[in-house]
C-alpha cells in the first residue's frame, strides 16, 4: 500500500522537476532579454541625465537661485503614471504607461525672468521622463525575476538532489523487504512440505 503511494509521489516529483526546469529555462531567457534592455536604457538615461544636469548648471549660473526655483516650481505638464502589473512567468512585474495631461506648449514662466538655458533643461527633463519610467519598469522586473529565478533554482535542486533520491531509496527498501518476505514464505512452505513427507 505504502509502496503504491510512494510510487505515485515519485512520478509527481519527477514531473514537477521537469516542469520547474522548463520554467527556469524560460525565465532565464526572458531575464537575459530584460537585462540587455535594462543596460541599454540605463546608458541612455545616464547620458541624458548628465546632459540635463549640465544645462541645469549652466542655467543656474546665469540667473540667481531663487528665480530659478520659482520658475521650476510650476510644472508644465501634469504627468500621470498609469500603473498596472503584467505577469512574466507567474511573476508580477510593473507595467507603467504615461498619460500626460494637456500639455501646454508654453513654458510656465515669463520669458523675462529666466534664461533660455533653463527652458532647455526643462525640455530635456520632460523628454527624458518616458525613458526614466521605462527604466524603472524594466529594472524592477529584472530585480523581481532575479529573485524568482533564484527561488526556482533552489526548488529544482531540492527536488533533484533530495526529494527524488529519498523517494527512490525508500521504494527500493520496501521492495527489498517485500521480496525478502516472499522468499521467506516460500522457504517456510518448502520446509513444511518436507517435514510432512517424513
Amino acid at each position: 500500500m505504502e509502496l503504491k503511494k510512494l510510487k505515485a509521489r515519485l512520478t509527481t516529483a519527477v514531473r514537477g522537476h521537469k516542469l520547474l526546469k522548463d520554467k527556469a529555462d524560460e525565465m532565464v531567457r526572458r531575464f537575459t532579454v530584460l537585462l540587455r534592455q535594462d543596460k541599454a536604457l540605463r546608458d541612455e538615461v545616464e547620458a541624458g541625465l548628465s546632459d540635463t544636469m549640465k544645462s541645469v548648471a549652466v542655467a543656474g549660473s546665469l540667473s540667481p537661485t531663487y528665480t530659478q526655483e520659482t520658475a521650476f516650481s510650476m510644472p508644465t505638464v501634469s504627468v500621470e503614471a498609469v500603473c498596472e502589473t503584467e505577469s512574466i512567468m507567474g511573476v508580477d512585474v510593473p507595467h507603467v504607461t504615461l498619460s500626460e495631461g494637456e500639455r501646454s506648449a508654453r513654458l510656465p514662466y515669463a520669458f523675462s525672468e529666466i534664461t533660455s538655458e533653463a527652458d532647455d533643461s526643462v525640455r530635456k527633463v520632460s523628454a527624458l521622463l518616458p525613458t526614466l519610467i521605462r527604466l524603472a519598469e524594466v529594472e524592477k522586473a529584472v530585480r523581481l525575476l532575479a529573485d524568482e529565478i533564484e527561488r526556482n533554482k533552489r526548488r529544482v535542486n531540492a527536488l533533484e538532489y533530495v526529494m527524488i533520491p529519498q523517494l527512490e531509496e525508500t521504494i527500493k527498501y520496501i521492495r527489498d523487504k517485500l521480496d525478502e518476505n516472499e522468499r521467506a514464505a516460500v522457504v517456510r512452505l518448502m520446509k513444511v512440505k518436507g517435514n510432512s513427507a517424513f
Binding site: V28, F31, T32, L35, R36, D38, K39, R42, V45, E46, L49, S50, T52, M53, K54, V56, G60, Q68, E69, A71, F72, S73, M74, P75, T76, V77, S78, V79, E80, A81, V82, C83, E84, T85, D92, V93, P94, V96, P108, S121, V122, V125, S126, L128, L129, L132, I133, L135, A136, E137, E139, K140, V142, R143, L144, L145, A146, D147, I149, E150
Partner: protein, 104 residues
C-alpha cells in the same frame, strides 16, 4: 491604479524635475532620505532616488523588491557612482551565474 511620480535627492539635482511634473522631496543626508522614502513610498507608485543616497540605503531598499509596487529607481545624478552597473552585475550573477554584458 493611477499615480504620480516622486523624486528624492539633493535639492539642486531634483529641482529641475519639478518642472516636468514630478513631485520633489529634497533631503540632505542618508537618515532623512530613509524617512522620506518610507513616507513617499506609500503615496507614490514610482519613486526616483539619486544614486548617492541609493548606495548607502541598499539594504533598506531591498524590502521594496517583494512586490511590483512601489518602484524605487536609483538614477544617476551627474556624478558617476557606478551604482547602475554594479546593480546589473549582481542581479545577473545571482540569476545566471555568468556575466553576459560586461564580459569583454
Amino acid at each position: 491604479m493611477q499615480g504620480k511620480m516622486a523624486i528624492v535627492g539633493d535639492a539642486d539635482t531634483i529641482m529641475v524635475f519639478q518642472a516636468a511634473g514630478v513631485s520633489t522631496f529634497p533631503v540632505t543626508d542618508e537618515k532623512e532620505a530613509r524617512e522620506t522614502i518610507r513616507k513617499v513610498a506609500r503615496d507614490y507608485p514610482i519613486v526616483f532616488l539619486t544614486e548617492e543616497f541609493a548606495e548607502p540605503l541598499k539594504e533598506f531598499l531591498k524590502r521594496f523588491d517583494e512586490e511590483a509596487y512601489p518602484v524605487i529607481l536609483p538614477i544617476p545624478s551627474g556624478k558617476d557612482t557606478g551604482y547602475g552597473e554594479a546593480f546589473l552585475k549582481s542581479a545577473m550573477e545571482r540569476a545566471l551565474g555568468v556575466d553576459i554584458l560586461f564580459g569583454k
